[in-house]
């Protein structure tokens, strides 16, 4: 691969607006000179390949796509696509995981030796995070779980050494991969429990079908140390918690179908659940407000803000998208704000129908067409955080100011289908 050339303006390294403006200015003056001189445009170099900055941006987000079978990386500030990581053959790509410590990206892929035929093989694939070039692959047990959301199936434990991969074949287990040693170190039997919730360098949590949580403790070698169960803290039949949790250190929060927020501390030997508190008042429940969506919760550590997609519906509507995002202060356990989800239809139709989604036609459509709401949200962790929103069936991503809820922009033409949004 050739290094990126000196070309201005479109070079991913130079995606800051300032630089782009400079670039345009530069181009402009260059040309006026050129025109003045009536000189020909000079021949250009073939073979340039763009690079990413050495450090991941604060406002970047991965957008996995089930049909295109890749995850694209977007810059929430410029609205530009920065690159993509391909996935294998599965219902939903497992989102790429970024290791700042190693400048690597990890993607767990399922492939078949003949494309859609042949022998199944699963790999933890390692890419260079600055060039997005393939670096290495680690074969794992060919039974990585595959779901229509791709949520909580793979977790990189703190320290960026151990990768935990949920298996379903249909028995449940978790494969442990040592990224340093480039090998799988263990397969932990986790009958009755599911999902991976990282909680330290050698531990992760799971949720279980009997209404308990479980902590899997690893040795420093990546082998299983021990497993510890919590007491039963939710009713799987009457009011289950979703596996779409949010994290702060060793603490995870899970919301129940009926709107109770459960806090689970995984810092101790066994998970210790705290008493849940309601996300809805009796009146709000009366009005039919419920949680719902795919990735329906997001959490900003710096401000301890919880974002929750809500809609009005009944039992069985727990996967419906919501047109409102309610904001809670976790410390005071109070609702502090209500954000409106943007209407993404114009941003979705614009690029297809050939009109500028931010122009008149876009405004008309957003007014005429009802807001379909969003299935998923994700928030950046910096001091001026962005809230990304997505409807699983619309190829567009909304960008909000996570502090004010202001609609900053919609990014169109972002693919075909998918529920996840992942901040690197």
């Amino acid at each position: 691969m050739l290094p990126a050339g000196p070309h201005f303006g479109y070079h991913p390294i130079m995606f800051s607006r300032a630089t782009l403006l400079a670039a345009v200015g530069f181009a402009a003056c260059l040309c006026s000179v050129a025109l003045g001189a009536r000189a020909e445009l000079p021949p250009e170099q073939v073979g340039q390949v763009a690079r990413l900055p050495d450090a991941a941006g604060n406002h970047w987000v991965w957008v996995p796509d089930r049909v295109l079978r890749h995850s694209i990386l977007l810059d929430g500030d410029s609205g530009r696509m920065l690159g993509a990581i391909d996935s294998g053959v599965q219902i939903t790509p497992k989102p790429p995981i970024w290791s700042r410590a190693r400048n690597e990206i990890y993607s767990v892929d399922t492939i078949y030796t003949r494309g859609h035929r042949g022998t199944r093989q699963d790999f933890a694939v390692i890419y260079d995070s600055r060039t997005l070039d393939f670096k290495a692959e680690i074969e794992v047990a060919p039974k990585a779980a595959d779901t229509s959301t791709g949520i909580a199936l793979v977790g990189l434990l703190d320290g960026d050494r151990f990768l935990a991969v949920m298996n379903h074949s249909p028995g449940a287990s978790v494969s442990i991969v040592d990224i340093e040693a480039r090998r799988a170190t263990a397969e932990v039997q986790t009958a009755g429990c599911a999902a991976v919730f990282p909680a330290g360098p050698t531990r992760f949590g799971m949720l279980c079908g009997d209404g308990t949580a479980m902590t899997v403790h690893l040795k420093n070698t990546g082998e299983l140390d021990r497993i510890a169960r919590s007491q039963r803290f939710f009713d799987v039949v009457k009011d289950p918690v979703t596996e779409k949790g949010v994290r702060d250190g060793a603490t995870w929060w899970f919301a129940s179908f009926e709107g109770l927020l459960h806090e689970v501390d995984f810092s101790t030997d066994a998970p210790s659940p705290k008493p849940p508190w309601p996300l809805f008042t009796d009146d709000e429940i009366e009005d039919g407000w419920r949680i719902g969506g795919a990735q329906h919760l997001a959490y900003h550590r710096g401000t301890k803000r919880l974002y929750s997609i809500v809609h009005r519906g009944g039992p069985g509507s727990h996967k419906d998208p919501g047109t409102e995002i309610w904001v809670y202060d976790i410390s005071s356990r109070t609702k502090i704000d209500t954000f409106d989800a943007p209407n993404l239809i114009a941003a979705f139709l614009g690029p297809q129908a050939g009109f500028d989604a931010t122009g008149t036609m876009g405004k008309i459509l957003s007014f005429v067409l009802p807001n379909m709401g969003v299935h998923s949200i994700a928030v950046t962790q910096d001091d001026s955080p962005l809230l990304f929103v997505r409807h699983a069936d619309l190829g567009a991503v909304g960008v909000l100011d996570a502090m004010t809820g202001e609609h900053l922009r919609e990014i169109g033409d972002t693919g075909l289908s998918g529920a996840l949004l992942v901040v690197p």
């Binding site: 089930r66 049909v67 053959v89 009755g192 599911a194 039992p315 996967k319 067409l369 009802p370």
Partner: protein
Amino acid sequence: MSRLDRWFEGMTRQSARRLSRRHWLSRFGGVLVGGAALPLLPVARAADENMVGADGVRGREGDPARCEYWRHCAIDGFLCSCCGGSHLACPPGTEMSPVTWIGTCRNPADGKDYIISYNDCCGRTFCGRCMCNRNEGERPLYHWYRNNDLNWCSGTKSQTYSCSTAVLVKVADEAQPEK
């Protein structure tokens, strides 16, 4: 507002309601399943003409190629009836998964609740037609046999997912326990 406005808005409103119930890949699926093709089929006509269809159920609730089919109360996937198979048979060239998730659905014809097994058909890529997602009594990942997010192509030669069936297992001892 002109009639066209109302038509257009009505269409989109309706569409939005439908869409809001749709799930992954429904961009090229459709809740009123089968779209233009089905009305040409006797079974679909049965629905339109409110005749009695499969399982002795009237209208769309009796049509295995529509999302409203009574057995689809907890399904998530492409309907095999639109993919070369049926609600009981996988399309040619695919293999039915022996393990699966279940739902408890009420048959409007006899008022009885039945256990429905949504066996996936595996070994080909997405059928891509008649996407349908309903979640009555559906449960999160850790409650495996009630979860419809999972790719249930397990115990099959290949785990690529093509479409889903809706096989009647038996009468349920109780109504859908999960709300």
